[in-house]
């Protein structure tokens, strides 16, 4: 067999490389079928569903309160936000009043959750790029948030804290002070992350200008959250369609310029700062006492109709769409899963890239497989 064909050219063959589902940096059980020609990627096909639990179908058989613990398991890094997204949709549909203190507690835990989730992104991304320490540093910081959540709702990951019309528990004594201490602590930590990661030349070389896309593409693919903001488009549902009590707080929407991996990383860091600002303000103005669960009928029945409401999740717009027939169970529940939508862009981003960039791009797209597969 000759390796040289008639035209005197070296014959090359496409190689099919199977990344995952058991691969250290596919963030769970994602499988990528990568076709490579030499070092260049010609095609990518993500294969999903390894973590599919049929949450949407299960929900059709569950009362509304019973669905809440299932939402914990969608994006397991941001369970509080999922809890809230569902409760918020039901509250909108039923026109329920949520007590003041409950709203404040919700905002505090949600923003803390965003911080935890973003920290985790930074750690995992750096681990993908081969730096080990940031992963452990963020875990040490995230651990404190998890402990705080453990104190307020008794779980470290699957909180099941929100209820339709409020929250399950009031904060235990001294909890709010602990949160305030933590906010101060984390603020001091920023320069460390900046020095360790943001300024590192190798990190910059691997992320600057890599995995770029523009606002048009992002909008065409329905991206939201940091993926959209990194292209310079200031779209944040907390501002654009204020829900809960976000209109009372003063915070910025950081946007990127280039839409590359570095911008996405850096926006995570900046958003942590903004979230901490919100928590600080919320801690100042939270009413010192009051009910944490509003007047909710004993049996929650969403009036017949179709309802959708979206919130700014940690990875983009997280929405729940409920079709109700007026019973105590939804007729159909559809979840707008930001990770799933982010993943759609991946083949487009990877095509034509060098194989060495796969991990850097995949990591920055920011997906959580629990949410992709639902």
């Amino acid at each position: 067999m000759s390796l040289i064909d008639e035209k005197d050219q070296v014959r090359t063959e496409e190689m099919l490389l199977n990344l995952g589902p058991q691969h250290p940096s596919t963030h769970g059980v994602l499988r990528l079928l990568v076709k490579i020609n030499g070092e260049t990627i010609t095609d990518v096909e993500p294969v999903i569903g390894y973590l599919h639990r049929g949450t949407e179908k299960l929900a059709e058989d569950l009362q509304y309160t019973q669905i809440i613990p299932y939402t914990d398991r969608l994006d397991y890094l941001a369970a509080m936000l999922n809890n809230y997204a569902l409760c918020h949709t039901i509250e909108q549909a039923m026109d329920l009043e949520v007590p003041e203190r409950a709203e404040y507690l919700r905002v505090i835990v949600m923003e803390m959750q965003r911080v935890a989730s973003h920290l985790m992104f930074i750690g995992a991304y750096l681990l993908d790029l081969g730096a080990m320490s940031p992963f452990l540093y963020v875990f040490a910081d995230r651990e404190q948030i998890v402990q705080l959540f453990n104190e307020i709702c008794g779980a470290r990951l699957t909180y099941n804290y929100m209820r339709v019309g409020g929250v399950k528990w009031d904060a235990p004594p001294g909890w709010l002070e602990k949160v305030a201490d933590f906010v101060q602590y984390l603020k001091q930590k920023f320069h460390m992350y900046d020095e360790l990661i943001t300024g590192n030349e190798i990190f910059l070389a691997r992320t600057r200008g890599i995995g770029r896309f523009d606002t048009e593409t992002a909008l065409a693919y329905g991206l939201s959250g940091i993926n959209l903001r990194s292209t310079g488009y200031p779209w944040d549902l907390r501002r654009k369609k204020p829900y809960s009590i976000y209109d009372r707080f003063d915070f910025d929407i950081p946007v990127g310029q280039n839409g590359d991996c570095f911008d996405r990383y850096y926006l995570h860091l900046l958003e942590i700062k903004e979230s901490l600002r919100i928590v600080e303000q919320a801690l100042k103005s939270i009413p010192s006492s009051g009910p944490v669960l509003g007047k909710v009928p004993k049996m929650i029945r969403v009036p017949a109709g179709e309802y959708y409401s979206g919130i700014e999740g940690a990875r983009g717009e997280l929405g729940f769409y409920i079709v109700s027939e007026g019973k105590d169970k939804p007729y159909r529940l559809k979840i707008r899963k930001p990770s799933f939508i982010n993943l759609q862009l991946l083949p487009e981003l990877l095509r034509g890239q060098s194989i060495a960039n796969v991990i850097a791009i995949l990591g920055a797209v920011d997906i959580v497989l629990g949410e992709v597969d639902a």
């Binding site: 320490s133 307020i152 779980a155 528990w169 300024g199 590192n200």
Partner: protein
């Protein structure tokens, strides 16, 4: 060039810092009072109203009651299939008499699924263990009741 030197100084500074590792089997974590571990159960309080079984999203509670001499409902069997329990806490939330509660038992690695089928005795033993481990919490509850 400066950036990566700064990074080096960051990691060097961590060297003498206090470590965060918990020496797990030697040192047990301290769980807060609300911690949701495996259930505990107080048979005397239960009125076999079946609310916990109905709210449970995974249907992992099965129970049966019987009437005693005074025609009051008493619990006869109470099993939690811990295999599928997702520790959501909804059962304790609806229980009108606080007969089923969460404990801070969390080490549930077992060799067989059968070992995860927790019956009333196991759950009650867990309650006794919890009482022993946290006498202060019961004192306080009693104090509040008085």
């Amino acid at each position: 060039m400066i950036g990566f030197l700064k990074g080096l100084s960051v990691t060097l500074r961590q060297l003498p810092k206090k470590k965060v590792t918990l020496q797990y089997p030697d040192v047990k974590p301290e769980w807060p009072e609300r911690f949701r571990g495996v259930h505990r159960f107080i048979p005397e309080l239960c009125i076999a109203c079946n609310q916990c079984a109905r709210i449970c999203p995974t249907s992992c509670i099965s129970l049966s009651g019987e009437r005693d001499e005074n025609k009051k409902m008493k619990i006869h069997t109470f099993d939690i299939n811990f295999d599928i329990c997702i520790l959501c806490d909804l059962c304790t939330e609806v229980c009108p008499t606080e007969a089923v509660l969460m404990s801070d038992t969390f080490e549930m690695a077992k060799y067989s699924r059968d070992d995860l089928y927790l019956d009333m005795h196991w759950l009650h033993d867990n309650q006794l263990k919890y009482e022993q481990a946290h006498p202060d919490r019961f004192e306080r509850a009693r104090g509040e009741a008085d």
